[in-house]
């Protein structure tokens, strides 16, 4: 029995929430109790790995015996012993718990560059990162490349900012290098605030070292001595793992003074955000690090000239930095050829909503949206009809079914009325109301507007009021043109990206789903039966068995009726919470 056994347990936020840490300790316990650890010394190891993308099937566990990998899904603590006994000791996998075709299809369609290490290596161990070639790129960059050479490599790779705006990274660095100053900063923007986006979190949690390495290379290329990673406070696990990684780097001499013996110094710190979406905007983020209210400032000059504390600053997104070490090692041509003519490489998206396979995916730029939704995502949950794909979060828009041929790219998505944004993709089906979705996003941007400029502060508020009027059944005929007019003004007159993009969800749904707005206004009807004020719950008498499940579940005591005879809902008392709808096993509650 000469075996090399590796057990990998998913421990991203999704994995931990599903009990990943308990599963890991159960494996470790089983190993030490059986004594095989002592027998094989290093031959048997169980460790945690970052998010592998398919969070819906967490906790995912890989068992690799002599290089042969078996993946298990939905693993709980009490299932560990059986896997250990049957598979690890006797070599027979527990077939009924292994992942199915959908897991393999989900992964096979992807091209992993940024996520290459996520789900493979232990994010809390710098040794694991170095074993797969980590810190070679930063060593190469600091010791044997000139700053201009690094800048040219990044420029040739066609890498564009992954934060959403898509500014060419090489150009930004070139500007940062050209401006001379004794103090310069490099900032990593990890303030991923878009609701529905979680790729930066997964990278920071699953492969923190690649972000740090990318920053070291950027610091070298722009001759900057100080760096900050700005992480939002809602990501405690990312903060913990990044801090651990930074500490390990200081110990190894990869950060601090004279890194890799090259005479180059770079100090790196984490700054925790305090919960403000607008801080994802570059100037607001810098004000926040300075300890002020995170309000954007007019861009009279580029950050590369005057940024943090009025010093030259280069700011990039997490995913952008994570790409850099690969570009340095594999070359600019390799990266450029992965994508389209205008933008090189791959992009990570978080696919969620009403799609069968939710999770994190990485695809080359230029892939059609259809492939993402139907092949990687596995189509719509529960066999319902696809309605729209929401991309770019609250700054983005909705793309309807006939736009699914669109290829994923900064320009083509903009043409379709949406944006690439940071990469959130939420699938909406026939049960999603588009007016309500637009209202949801506007409620978000309105609450997160910092209040500095009038178009954003008052404009979004007025737009939200109109949408609330429409969804509550009080919409007026002239509301639609009013929304469009307001939207145009806010878009052109706001100070920063938050305001400029805030009307997008409304304008894009108006473009493609105008009929839903009209149904709300003219017929006082919500076609998807979502808007609470426009729907009524009632009992379909023919289907009701009088079991009383709805009556017991109703929090407002609005269901009346005797056992074994059809019940009724008192519409006066009903609070329209939908609990009866969920409680009924006979589909006898109608929602209209």
């Amino acid at each position: 029995m000469n075996k090399n056994i590796v057990i990998k347990v998913c421990a991203g936020t999704g994995g931990v929430a599903s009990g990943g840490e308990e599963v890991l300790s159960a494996f470790r316990h089983a190993i030490s109790a059986s004594g095989i650890e002592a027998e094989f010394q290093k031959g048997c190891a169980a460790h945690r790995v970052g998010c592998r993308g398919f969070c819906a099937q967490d906790v995912l566990v890989d068992v690799i015996i002599n290089g042969e990998k078996t993946t298990y899904k939905h693993i709980k603590q009490d299932m560990v012993q059986r896997i250990f006994d049957e598979h690890i000791l006797n070599g027979i996998p527990v077939e009924e718990w292994t992942v199915q075709e959908d897991y393999h299809a989900f992964h096979e369609q992807q091209t992993k560059v940024v996520l290459a290490h996520c789900g493979e290596i232990d994010p809390e161990d710098i040794g694991a990162y170095m074993e797969v070639g980590g810190y070679e790129a930063s060593k190469k960059a600091t010791c044997s490349m000139t700053p201009m050479e690094i800048v040219n490599t990044v420029k040739n790779s066609n890498l564009r900012g992954r934060g959403g705006a898509g500014f060419p990274t090489g150009l930004k660095w070139e500007l940062g290098l050209r401006i001379k100053s004794d103090i310069k900063y490099v900032i990593c923007n990890g303030d991923e605030g878009d609701p529905g986006a979680f790729m930066d979190r997964s990278v920071m949690e699953g492969d923190p070292h690649s972000v740090i390495e990318g920053m070291i290379i950027c610091a070298r290329a722009t001759e900057s001595g100080h760096g900050y990673i700005y992480v939002r406070s809602e990501y405690p696990l990312a903060v913990k793992r990044l801090q651990l990684a930074i500490d390990q780097c200081y110990q190894k001499g990869f950060l601090g003074a004279d890194i890799f013996g090259s005479g180059f110094d770079f100090q790196l710190k984490i700054f925790q955000g305090a919960g403000a979406f607008v801080c994802g905007e570059a100037t607001a983020l810098m004000r926040s690090i300075e300890g002020k209210r995170g309000m954007p400032t007019p861009k009279l000059w580029r950050s590369a000239e005057k940024g943090l504390w009025d010093r030259p600053t280069v700011l990039n997104n997490v995913e952008t930095f994570a790409n850099i070490p690969r570009i340095i090692m594999k070359g600019a041509d390799w990266y450029r050829n992965l994508g389209t003519e205008r933008s090189g490489g791959t992009k990570v998206f978080s696919l969620s909503g009403k799609v069968r396979n939710t999770g994190l995916i990485e695809v080359p730029l230029g892939v059609p949206l259809k492939k993402i939704v139907y092949e990687i995502g596995g189509g719509i949950e529960g066999g319902k009809a696809f309605k729209a794909l929401q991309t770019g979060g609250p700054s983005g828009g909705c793309i309807p079914a006939d736009g699914l041929e669109t290829e994923v790219d900064y320009e083509s998505l903009a043409q379709a009325g949406s944006i690439m944004g940071s990469g959130g993709m939420v699938v909406l089906d026939e049960t999603s109301c588009m007016v309500n979705t637009a209202r949801f996003f506007l409620e978000f941007t309105q609450a997160e507007s910092c209040g500095k400029c009038t178009p954003c502060r008052i404009g979004t508020k007025r737009m939200l009021e109109i949408l609330e009027r429409i969804t509550s059944g009080n919409g007026k005929e002239e509301d639609i043109p009013l929304l469009e007019e307001l939207g145009q003004y806010i878009r052109s007159a706001s100070l920063c990206g938050l305001g400029m993009t805030a009307p997008n969800p409304v304008l894009s749904t108006l473009r493609y789903f105008r009929d839903e707005y009209e149904a709300h206004i003219r017929d006082k009807r919500c076609p998807a039966a979502v808007c609470r004020d426009l729907i009524t719950y009632s009992v379909i008498e023919e289907l009701c068995t009088g079991c009383g499940a709805c009556k017991r579940a109703c929090p407002a005591d609005a269901v009346r009726g005797k056992r074994k005879s059809p019940h009724k809902i008192d519409t006066e008392a009903c609070v329209k919470c939908g609990t009866c709808y969920d409680a009924c096993k006979f589909r006898a509650i109608s929602k209209k």
Binding site: T13, G14, V16, A17, S18, G53, F54, C55, A56, D58, E192, G193, D194, P195, G196, A197, F198, D200, R201, S202, S233, E234, Y235, P236, Q272, G273, A274, G275, A276, F277, S288, E290, G291, K292, R293, G294, S350, S352, G353, K354, T358, G359, L360, Q390, G393, G424, V426, L428, S432, T437, F440, F441, F444, E448, C450, P555, V575, C577, G578, T579
Partner: protein, 153 residues
């Protein structure tokens, strides 16, 4: 209280912190931002209290009023919204008997708060119960957990 505040102040001086890091420390120690704490630190540092309150009211992480001993955070990200988080919040408010426009029960046992997105969209809808993330949550599951906490108090 002064002792804790002194520690926060020392930490600030040692790590060249700023107003936000001080507020983060206060929030961590007291669970909210007491007016007294701000005034005390403001005097010691000779920075106007208004600048502290300016930041405290700007960032959603800071709270000016005392919060419940147990915090239920319901994620309101897009994915969670699509999967019914709004209804979850509505029902939670009814079940815990929290009045409109308030977020905390009268006995200071529970606070219900919303968060924009915690980035666990793959397992939506998500809630955080006293720092522990629960994915694919339903009202029944949530109420069971809440009952457990109630019984433990």
């Amino acid at each position: 209280m002064e002792e804790t505040l002194q520690q926060i102040l020392d930490h600030y001086k040692k790590n060249d912190g700023n107003i936000i890091t001080i507020l983060q420390d206060i929030e961590k120690n007291f669970g909210f931002i007491p007016e007294y704490a701000v005034n005390w630190i403001s005097k010691k540092l000779d920075i106007p209290a208004s600048r502290f309150f300016g930041c405290a009211t700007f960032y959603s992480q800071f709270h000016l009023r005392q919060r419940g001993r147990n915090v239920v955070t319901v994620c309101r990200g897009t994915a969670c919204h699509v999967k019914g988080s709004e209804r979850l919040i509505d029902r939670l408010m009814i079940e815990l008997d929290i009045p409109n426009n308030e977020d905390t029960t009268a006995d200071l046992k529970f606070t219900v708060e919303k968060v924009n997105c915690i980035g666990a969209c793959g397992i939506a809808p998500v809630t955080i119960l006293n720092n522990e993330v629960h994915g694919k949550i339903t009202l029944d599951k949530l109420m069971k957990e809440i009952k457990k906490i109630k019984a433990g108090e």
